[in-house]
Amino acid sequence: MRYDYPEFEFTPPPGLSGPERRHQVAIIGAGPIGLAMAIDLATRGVPSVVLDDNNVVSVGSRAICWAKRTLEIFDRLGVGERMLAKGVTWQVGRVFHGRRQVYEFDLLPETGHKYPAFINLQQYYVEQYLVERAREFPDLIDLRFLNKVSDHQDLTDHVKLSVETPDGTYEIEAAYALACEGAPSPTRRRMNLPFVGQEFDENFLIVDVEMAQSPFETDAPERWFWFEPDFHNGQSALLHKQPDNIYRIDLQLGPDADVKAELADDRVLPRIRAVVGDVPFTLDWKSIYRFRCARLDRFVHGRVIFVGDSAHVVSPFGARGGNGGIQDVDNLGWKLAAVLNGGNPALIESYNAERVQAADENILNSARTTNFMTPKSATEATFRNEVLRLAKSHPFARRLINAGRLSLPCTLDSALTTPGEAPVPPGAAMVDAPHQGGWLIEAAQGEFTLLSVGGARPATLGNLRSIHATDPTSITRYGNGMTYLLRPDGHVATAFRDPKPAQIAQALARAEGAMT
């Protein structure tokens, strides 16, 4: 079943007929990052205007792998359950060399989590659900399609934006502008900011096919990755399932591929048949891409803040692009809301420091995967192939196979963190567990929260939210007797035993930017 792309309506914005009062936040781009940003701010009562040059959701499935931590953030934003219900849950991956399986992994072998390790869901569904969710905040989210930001000026205490629409051009002002435009980021280009990193020469063909019959030999959908498959001329191949019986196939084409010729049906169809066999299927979407791993030196430039792919790009192996971007949103939302409400502006700088660290981790992992998959010399190829051969007989070599180190949240090494020893260490993202008939991620995210575990004396401080985890699973995961201070983005600000109110107050002040 093909996705039916709805067109969003263009409504002439008030700025066309007279000056608008200054907005608090202008979000440039209504992709997953911009939309999630607007919803996150709206949950904190912060209004925003979202400007998008287009009027449809993502054309093509594009980002399809949404990681557990991202789903937990989406849960807080009110769309996680809908995504889980529609998405294809998978957790087993297999790696083949030629036709032979050399390695198999289970990403989340334990129970006691609301969300699985991964779901696959086409980006167009993610954007559709986010648009529908954003429309549940009509007083806080002003969604403007076919509103293209053509210029901006940072005027120190606000940003002035020029916006082109089908009915003419207008200007608005906002206290902050968030560039959520994806990798091509016109804002970044306008500012002429260097976007430095590693370029890869390899071309990849990416195809979505619809077919009734599953190519997997198991009931559950999986992630299959081949090094040197006999059906694809010794290059790599990846197979994934999406909802609506759509399968994603990625095929490495080499650095010298003729992109135009390779996109023709007479070239694509035989390649797909070689993967899935002689079964009926229809092509849904195809594209050829190259990639790079790069980031901005800084994500915060005065009143202009870069979020998601506009700030950093990675190769797709590891699903660290979209997932990394949603974690940017999670990190920035509460900080920006706090600063707009009189909080310490150092919090914005901590977004820069924390998410630069996370981007570097994502870039490191995805660049290593890409290097393993596309050896650049005969020696690299020899090592790669010997790893694959050894893996069949020597388990240690399986750890060296790198077909994607799948997205995990970054443990932040941050000035906001008060050091401490704990099973979930300070800086790490919270870990889910059952909690009072629901889940810990439902109870603890969104605002600063004290989490007292098992036998710990329930900690309190003023009107700070305080919850007591008594489920055996949460006690195992968090440590009996521990008390955690969790940030609004669910990261551990600190952990201690029997803290005095002054200790809690000090850790809280630090997490709110007092010591940066």
Binding site: A378, T379, T382, F383, E386, R389, L390, A397, L400
Partner: protein, 62 residues
């Protein structure tokens, strides 16, 4: 001369290495060497030590 971990068996180890490479093509030897490096790294069993040995070897180019 101070003794080394391989001690009196040093010649045996060197000869075993040469024997393993005997009658191999350059490509076959390269593959064997790659395998051997990976297996020996695993035998050392300590990532810091392995990385330090790699760095030591890599700085010995002319």
């Amino acid at each position: 001369m101070t003794d080394t971990p391989l001690g009196a068996r040093s010649d045996d180890v060197y000869q075993a290495l040469m024997d393993a490479h005997a009658d191999r093509t350059d490509a076959g030897s390269a593959a064997l060497n790659a395998r051997l490096v990976l297996m020996l790294a695993n035998e050392v069993g300590n990532a810091d030590r392995v990385i330090s040995v790699i760095a030591d070897a890599a700085t010995m180019d002319e």
